[in-house]
Symmetry: C2
Subunit: 365 residues, 2 copies
DNA sequence: GATGAGAATGTAATCGATTACATTCGGCAA
DNA sequence: TTGCCGAATGTAATCGATTACATTCTCATC
């Protein structure tokens, strides 16, 4: 009574089954699949027919064991739900999967336990290479990713003092460019909405902000540097802290270390009845898709997100295939300021409180 | 002159190295790691010390081959950059990685070649189970995912006529609820911004829309069903097509099959000088984070995104561990309508053109 | 016809773990 | 003393592929 499935094997066929069916040795089967040109037409046909009939697929674990490769890359990402990383991942996926690699996504989510588990995975030979989007070399209590002697490439966040390839943009320069844009519009009281202090991107973008002020002779004001952590919510809080200031004490422009915070801040200002950019110009950073969806559309530094991922992936493939270890090159991809609707010259308040401006405050030019 | 790294082995240590160093057999090493209680204290200490000294980690490929498991789950997702899926993925990752599984993300991106490659991976035993977020059973030109005889669970999009577990929400019922909300507010000319016709979610949400109209005696109007494809851009285009209508012919409310389209549509209406919800009430679907960030905040059906992922993952773990095949249960998680700022009663236009309403047009109640 | 080159295929070692089964050993009861 | 039992450990088979090396065979050449 048991309905027997027709030709299908109970368990998946192995190479020996195919060999038996085709009347050849396992070596010939393996060769037929790996280098068809070395086996003569007639044999090849018999083998391929047997492969089809059995539904044979070479077992990945067995092959991995033998050839000491897995064709898998581990990608460490701080937060998979962050749209910026999601877009970088697309670029990585395009390049890597075209080259036949699969990717394991290590969503670190700030959890040291997760991080440790993934380090162990890699040390145990589960991946042929690792792509770090996370700003540090992963570690577990007992070991470090470098112990795995596996090709490593970092992207997006530069990791200083390491001798593996890295792919980023010029964070300092583009941040400076963003602030210069505000200065050119005539702003002099420019706030900075920062990321977590320990983050290298934060440090670089802050540096760019300070450089822009310095080179135009605007004194930095510590009270205009607002704490943040790259989340929408941090933007909301920063907005509230601006609203708590006397209107005359408020900055006329703000540079946010990323788009999500900028969007949160704008929303909070709107809720309080202020207009962007009329009451406050805002520049973001990253160029996530929503920066162009929100209202007003966000002036921001657009990072080439897919390209960053693709370039890093290409670099890693190079490393994995040629084994040419430790070319510590640091690729920088171009990123540009896109002017949209969230910035404009400051309102002309003749008796304004531009007390920080050294020279006569420039107006729109 | 070559700086010799101290104790570190040149190549990663294998179990035989540990055994030699500890003066025991490989079996004892393996047992010490797998079932410490069966080996006496003194031996165990020696072995653990040797493990530490060598930095030994069991090779994953070898173990996988022997025990016929990989502790890897493949997650098929239509588009990794879609924020809805990103949040579902978080739930999946939480549950799966806590249980010791790694996940390979198959970003299908509408590419049959990619899909085929992943099917082959699974058939080749690269994964212990598969989570389908993609609304269909994956296939390659020659085979079907079912050929792999691997545990399967579908989430988010129901796949009809399959006997594996599925975890979704009640799409028909919640879509109906969304439209009922508009009707309760007094709307009778309610448009529907649809997804791709072939998509099961689209079919279910359309059905909910039609049910709500039917049960309240409002005739459906094919001209109020706008084509879409779940993207922001489709929302923009739908907005433009609404703007092309004579103002009096426009609907007073719109139900979008997902949030991204709703947001695109709202943006387009704003650009044309219309107010949401004053000139048009809008309800979305999904409850992505940005639905609460945009302006006005979006009334929408909030899906329990993390929970969907977590529940599906739990279901899959059950299947993978107990091997209890084919429990075709269909879990439905609750989803609720969240009323925010994008909906309100229709403007009172005494001589309005509610020519489609059967009974006397209800007004806000 | 003998010889050798080269092509096609086969045999068996190998990758590194897990684990069934075998062995050793100590202690206790008869 | 012998024999047996159970605990601790060792030996070797096994997972399923790849591939170095061995073998066989064909054919051209002398």
């Amino acid at each position: 009574m048991t309905k027997r499935t027709r030709v299908t094997r109970q368990k998946t066929a192995k190479i020996a089954d195919v060999a038996r069916l085709a009347g050849v040795s396992v070596a010939t089967v393996s060769r037929t699949l790996a280098r068809p040109e070395v086996v003569i037409e007639e044999t090849r046909m018999r083998v391929l027919a047997a492969v089809r009939d059995t539904g044979y697929m070479p077992n990945v674990s067995a092959r991995n064991l033998r050839v000491r490769k897995t064709m898998i890359v581990l990608v460490a990402v701080p937060d998979i739900a962050n749209p910026f990383f999601a877009e970088v991942l697309q670029g990585i996926d395009d390049t890597l999967s075209a080259a036949g690699y699969g990717l394991i996504i290590a969503n670190l989510a700030g959890s040291p336990e997760k991080e440790a588990r993934y380090v162990d995975l890699v040390c145990a030979g589960q991946a042929d290479g690792v792509l770090l989007l996370c700003g540090h070399v992963m570690r577990s209590p007992t070991r470090d990713l470098r112990d795995a002697r596996v090709p490593l490439v970092a992207a997006c966040e530069h990791i200083p003092h390491e001798n593996f390839p890295q792919v980023t943009i010029d964070n300092v320069g583009t941040a400076r460019e963003a602030v210069e844009h505000l200065i050119e519009l005539g702003h002099t009281r420019i706030a900075y909405l920062s990321g977590p202090k320990s983050n290298i991107l934060e440090q670089q973008r802050l540096e760019g902000y300070l450089q822009a002020l310095r080179e135009t002779g605007i004194a930095a004001d510590a009270r205009l540097i607002l704490p943040g952590d790259f989340t929408f919510h941090a933007g909301v809080e920063a907005g509230q802290s601006l609203l708590a200031l006397k209107p005359t004490a408020r900055p006329t422009a703000l540079f946010a270390a990323n788009d999500e915070m900028a969007i949160g801040l704008i929303k909070t200002m709107h809720a309080a009845g202020l207009q962007i950019p009329n009451d406050l110009s805002v520049v973001g950073f990253d160029g996530i898709a929503y920066a162009d969806y929100c209202e007003p559309t966000l002036t921001t530094i657009v990072q080439p997100r897919r390209e960053l991922g693709a370039a890093a992936a290409a670099e890693l493939i190079e490393l994995m295939t040629t084994g040419k270890a430790g070319s510590p090159k640091h690729v920088k991809l171009p990123a540009r300021l896109i002017r949209r609707d969230s910035t404009r010259p400051p309102p002309k308040r003749p008796g304004g409180i531009h007390r920080l401006a050294r020279g006569p405050a420039k107006t729109a030019q």
